[in-house]
């Protein structure tokens, strides 16, 4: 039987970031992952490191997201130095375009509500009028009336990020097992026995980072993980010369020059097909925003499934019945990669989640009645 300090179930962005962080803390880590049949949000997402709208109504989430965005520059540098794979992270700030006065007012109200979360100075998020937006993105269409702007927003290549995390893990005391779908997790003395791919692994701790698989696995170690899929579709164009200096929440230009457009929110169960209805709606919105996009060809499109909790905020928890079993779930695994590797993993290494994460346990989903 193979023994590790920690067994991480799931090798997507969440599992890989936590595993990399644990390996950096000096732990021996095994990552058990499924094969190509799996649902893999980490291979199909949009690549934003996005702060401006996160945590309206949940200040702990706003702070946690901001912490990750603050960690990202150093984290990206560390990963590049460590592995030679730069995640192409840029933090030029980000824009959320508005097409009506009502939309601008709604963004203004959101900024106002969130103003004090980061201290009396706010966090620099503000409304820009059309003229100010034009100074940043000269090629906007006539329907863009303004935008909200945050200096903390940025974007990265999710595929390079994932590859970098896996490379960093392999370089240290991490072992990755593909085609090892975890079937059973059991208590074993002070630790856990995990059965996967016909083998048995033994770990002092176990971290469930299996995305949509966490619901089923959680039940085996006393964790309630009510995650469900939420489909998103994305379009990608041919490469062009650099034209967009910063990302918006639905359009961004990658380091390679392609322009990504997205992303829909569709309650469609485990269906990962893309379809012309949503594709044309995404394209039409993109062309309304940046009319010149009409002349740029789309070369690929796809759909992927987000990992959603009932209220959309992350779920971090250590099992009470099975201490040492943790679960990590979120729908912004790119944005939170910095925090997962550099803040969450050290907590897991110490065996306890910090006070700042107490708002993210599943207890919040319980209905209370007298």
């Amino acid at each position: 039987m193979r023994r590790y300090d920690t067994i991480v179930v799931g090798g997507g962005l969440v599992g890989a970031a936590v595993a990399y962080g644990l390996a950096r803390e000096g732990e021996s880590v095994a990552v058990l992952d499924e094969g190509d049949v799996a649902f893999r949000a980490s291979r199909g997402n949009f690549g934003l490191v996005w702060v401006q709208s996160k945590g309206d109504g949940r200040p702990e989430y706003a702070r946690w997201t901001r912490r990750s965005s603050d960690l990202w520059p150093g984290f990206a540098e560390l990963l590049a130095e460590d592995t030679g794979i730069a995640p192409d992270y840029h933090k030029p700030g980000g824009l959320h375009f508005c097409f009506s006065e009502a939309e601008i007012e709604a963004r203004r109200a959101m900024i106002h509500r969130m103003h004090n979360v980061h201290g009396p100075g706010g966090d620099g998020t503000r409304i820009l009028d059309r003229k100010e937006v034009q100074d940043l993105v000269p090629s906007i269409g006539p329907d863009v009336l303004g935008a909200s702007y945050s200096p903390h927003d940025g974007h990265a290549s999710p595929l390079r990020l994932l590859r970098g995390l896996h490379a960093g893990l392999a370089k240290r005391t991490g072992a990755y097992f593909a085609d090892h779908r975890v079937q059973r997790i059991e208590k074993d003395g002070g630790g856990f026995r995990v059965e996967a791919g016909g083998e048995t692994f033994s770990g002092g701790k176990v971290v469930l980072a299996a995305g949509l698989g966490n619901r089923e696995l959680g039940a085996q170690v006393g964790l309630d993980v009510p995650v469900r899929p939420l489909k998103g579709q994305i379009l990608v164009t041919e490469r062009t010369k650099p034209v967009l200096t910063m990302p918006t929440h639905v359009i961004r230009q990658t380091e390679e020059g392609t322009i990504m457009m997205g992303d829909s929110q569709e309650d469609a169960g485990f269906d990962t097909r893309s379809g012309t209805g949503v594709i044309s709606a995404i394209a039409a919105h993109a062309v309304r925003t940046l009319p010149w996009l009409a002349t740029v060809r789309v070369v690929r499109s796809w759909a992927a499934l987000r990992v959603m909790t009932p209220d959309g905020y992350p779920l971090y928890e250590q099992s009470e019945s099975h201490p040492g079993a943790f679960t990590v779930n979120c729908h912004s695994g790119v944005t939170l990669a910095g925090a997962h590797a550099q803040a969450l993993a050290p907590m897991i290494a110490l065996g306890a989640l910090g006070e700042e994460l107490s708002a993210f346990t599943s207890g919040r989903f319980d209905v209370r009645a007298n």
Partner: protein
């Protein structure tokens, strides 16, 4: 280099490559006509600037990108030459805005 192995039955078609008139055979793809003309590279890559030319001839590899009649990034192997066509090299990535 490439040589035609038969005289062919089709007629001649003239198009422009980088502004110079090139004679092709009717039915040639733009890629075939350019290779037959003696050019090996039709573009440079956006990544490194290295020269590239037609490779797969079946629309898969995207190595043969050229600008045709003002439209950038067209696959030369998928377009049949037409009289008077204006074909230019695709130097790196296209401009985004017209």
């Amino acid at each position: 280099m490439f040589e035609r192995t038969d005289a062919g039955a089709g007629g001649q078609v003239g198009f422009f490559f980088e502004g110079s008139r090139v004679e092709a055979r009717a039915g040639d793809t733009v890629a075939a006509a350019i290779l037959a003309h003696g050019e090996r590279s039709v573009r440079t890559t956006p990544a490194s600037g290295a020269p590239r030319g037609p490779f797969c001839f079946m629309g898969t590899c995207f190595e043969c990108l050229v600008e045709i009649d003002g439209v950038p990034n067209r696959q030369a192997c998928m377009v049949v030459v037409a009289e008077g066509m204006d074909v230019r090299r695709q130097e790196g990535a296209r401009e985004a805005t017209p």
